[in-house]
């Protein structure tokens, strides 16, 4: 424990050193001020003391982004799993669904802007639409493909044992697709987060981490942009390492692949 803490602190120190050296180099070459670790950390302290960014606290910006992300992600997860299960069970629906979702997956998140604006105008719902549309394909594809890949013998064995549909779904099917589904959820979450920031920059309202980053272009308050980027990375690390990392380990162990 002590050793890992020392490594983490050492790593953080090395990161700050690299950042500082990089900042010095940029200032020397470009002759413009670069947000240094000391200034950014001081700004973080002030923000925690109650200083606002564009009339809103850092906490509100952060929570607003999280809220948008979660709502849109839940919509994408629900649609992805329901349609994925449907297409996983029906051959023709799978063929159509796979083509459609492959096309959707190829769409860059920001390419949804015109559709979002036509359908919902500028604002909250357009942002949610963009996130949901981007997070949906990996969840859908992984659910449907995992279902298609279950051996037909599994279903025949279940029939032989006279299992009810409910038990078949929860005891046999769900564990069979759990790992693949988790990969889809993981990808969907990451893509959704990236698109959220981009969507907030373009069609979002005046609150959110993406908004603070895009606003720094005009206010030249790059310290705030750096803090927002730091928070974005932090959310990514938490989701990846502490949520999906742990979940994947547990599921893999449970379904016999760990």
């Amino acid at each position: 424990m002590l050793k890992s803490t020392a490594w983490a602190l050492g790593g953080f120190g090395a990161f700050l050193l690299c950042w500082w050296l990089f900042g010095l180099s940029v200032e020397a070459v470009r002759h413009i001020p670069f947000p240094m670790p000391k200034d950014v950390l001081m700004r973080v302290y002030l923000l925690f003391q109650g200083e606002s960014i564009y009339d809103t606290s850092l906490f509100s910006h952060f929570m607003m982004s999280l809220k948008r992300w979660m709502i849109a992600y839940c919509i994408a997860t629900f649609c992805g799993i329901v349609l994925g299960v449907l297409c996983g069970f029906f051959e023709k629906a799978y063929k159509v669904g796979l083509h459609v979702s492959t096309v959707l997956q190829m769409m860059p998140g920001l390419a949804w802007i015109p559709f979002a604006m036509i359908l919902f105008g500028i604002g909250e719902r357009a942002t949610l639409f963009m996130i949901a549309m981007s997070a949906f394909p990996p969840i859908f594809i992984h659910t449907a493909s995992a279902l298609r890949s279950i051996s037909p013998q599994t279903f025949l064995m279940a029939k032989m044992m006279n299992l009810s549909s409910r038990r078949l779904f929860f005891t046999i099917i769900m564990p069979s697709i759990a790992l693949s589904l988790l990969t889809g959820l993981r990808l969907g979450l990451a893509i959704g987060w990236r698109v959220l920031i981009a969507a907030e920059m373009v069609v979002g309202s005046s609150v959110g981490l993406g908004y603070t980053i895009i606003q720094s272009r005009w206010s030249l308050d790059f310290e705030v942009a750096f803090i927002s980027i730091g928070l974005i990375c932090l959310v990514g690390i938490v989701a990846e390492k502490w949520v999906f990392g742990v979940l994947e380990q547990k599921v893999a162990k449970r379904v016999g692949n760990g």
Binding site: L156, M157, M161, T171, P175
Partner: protein, 251 residues
Amino acid sequence: MVELEAKSISKAYFLAHENRCIVAVQKLDFTLHVGEFVSIVGPSGCGKSTLLRLFAGFETPNSGSVFHRGDAVLSPHHSRSFIPQDSGLFAWLSIEENVMLPLHCSTLSYDQKREKALLCMEKTGIASFAKAYPRELSGGMKQRAALSRALAMESQLILMDEPFSALDEVSREVIDEAMQHFFSENRMSVVLVTHSIREALLLSDRVVIMQGLPGRISDVIIPRTPKEKRHKSAEIETLYKQIVERLKSHV
């Protein structure tokens, strides 16, 4: 009384990549009586496993019919227990949960189901591994667990597809002995597909020799020596050589 009857069944598969059909089983007739133990031997690819899957209702014949106790076999049913080569256990369920699985359709309470599953596991000698997961057990133990599940299903017909192919000779002999005792005690009808001629001769009332392709029965051997005396029987040695010679001519 007839347990299982196949009347002129045929099964062909279309090989898309070769654009041709192969006939795995052709106009085959087969009868299994209640309490009988029949083994099917034959060269690889002669249609043994296909035949077993047809008996289990895991495949449907292109022509002909299979009857189990007078009823047409159209799909899998809990009255017929099929044990595939890989034992068919679900990796994420413990042995106890695997054995309990077919009991969930019954009206028993959870405790009664557990009790029954434990009893079935005791009969096959794996009760002490009830909480273990399939990945933690050896091949033989997994097959015992699959047998326990078959017992929990209360199937009178057991269909086993090369269940002990991954085991060494000694473990196989130990399990064979336990199996023989177990099946005769419970008066179960068994069809065993195996590559081991010796195993077939030691366990079976009849040994069916198949040849392919197309898969059909070429011979039926009936050992006369009682099962408990077969280990050192000269008849078994003679029959063994006879079957090997016949199989060689088919390869």
